[in-house]
Symmetry: C2
Subunit: 131 residues, 2 copies
DNA sequence: TTAATTACAGTAATCGTTATCATTATTATA
DNA sequence: TATAATAATGATAACGATTACTGTAATTAA
């Protein structure tokens, strides 16, 4: 079972994820944590991001461009991807709405739906202002 | 603008996508088309899958495991990923429901939502039977 | 304080995908 | 038709993101 051992690097990664709203990629996490640990290895970042995801202290989001983004927000919520600037933002959708969607989907489906994740697309407010 | 030229390989790929319900990966497409074109190159498969996606004759779906699946069904629809067997299935959700979800999401969001894509998780009917 | 074990940094390996390039197939035109 | 132009191919090299490996350092338990 391999008991978990404290590490300052992991704490730093976790703290960054919990305080940022950037939904960073592994490389963005690496760049950031490098400020405190100049010779941290990219492998350490990956190892810990996956570890945190496994123990439920981070969420791994796969984006349409292939790669992953990481999120320290653990409550179920959805995301919005701006098709202009590419930013990934949080999008609130109350539990009732989420459950309603799952219920609608279950109507025409021959299995059990336990959860769902929606990615919304469009133009974010910043991009609208600029145009 | 590079005019498109016919190719038997591309037709074969397109035909397979339109007739299968498997939501194949690039490699699965490669394996299949290889039966008709034994020395087709994997690069050709990728090139054509991306081309078909670009001209709107195929859809590229990114899955939580990182990779992509391809779909010949062009009407907007959603997908279900079985957490037991890993199969990716179609899931019908009428346009009204999809629009309703987008409307609900827009309520708490400061931008324009043009579309959305939901991936549902749970257990498919086959896996339920087996347990 | 020592022994056991996990995490680390650094680096090599892996995997899916793209890019390159010389050759072949398709299309337009003479 | 025959020819010329150009897009597509197969083969292979290159790429970027992620994972695996290894010897050393840090953390924890005895």
């Amino acid at each position: 079972m391999a008991a978990l051992k404290y590490s300052r690097q992991r704490e730093s990664i976790k703290h960054y994820l919990m305080t940022t709203k950037e939904h960073p990629t592994a490389d963005m996490v690496y760049m950031h944590v490098k400020q405190d640990f100049p010779n941290i290895s990219l492998g350490t970042v990956y190892r810990n991001l996956n570890l945190l995801t496994d123990i439920g202290e981070a969420v791994k989001i796969s984006t349409p461009d292939g790669g992953y983004r990481f999120d320290g927000r653990l409550e179920p919520h959805n995301h919005f991807l701006c098709t202009k600037c590419g930013r990934l933002l949080d999008l609130e959708l109350d539990m009732k709405s989420i459950e309603e969607v799952n219920r609608l989907a279950a109507e025409n489906f021959d299995g059990i739906i336990t959860s769902s994740s929606t990615l919304f697309y469009g133009e974010c407010s910043d991009c609208i202002k600029k145009s």
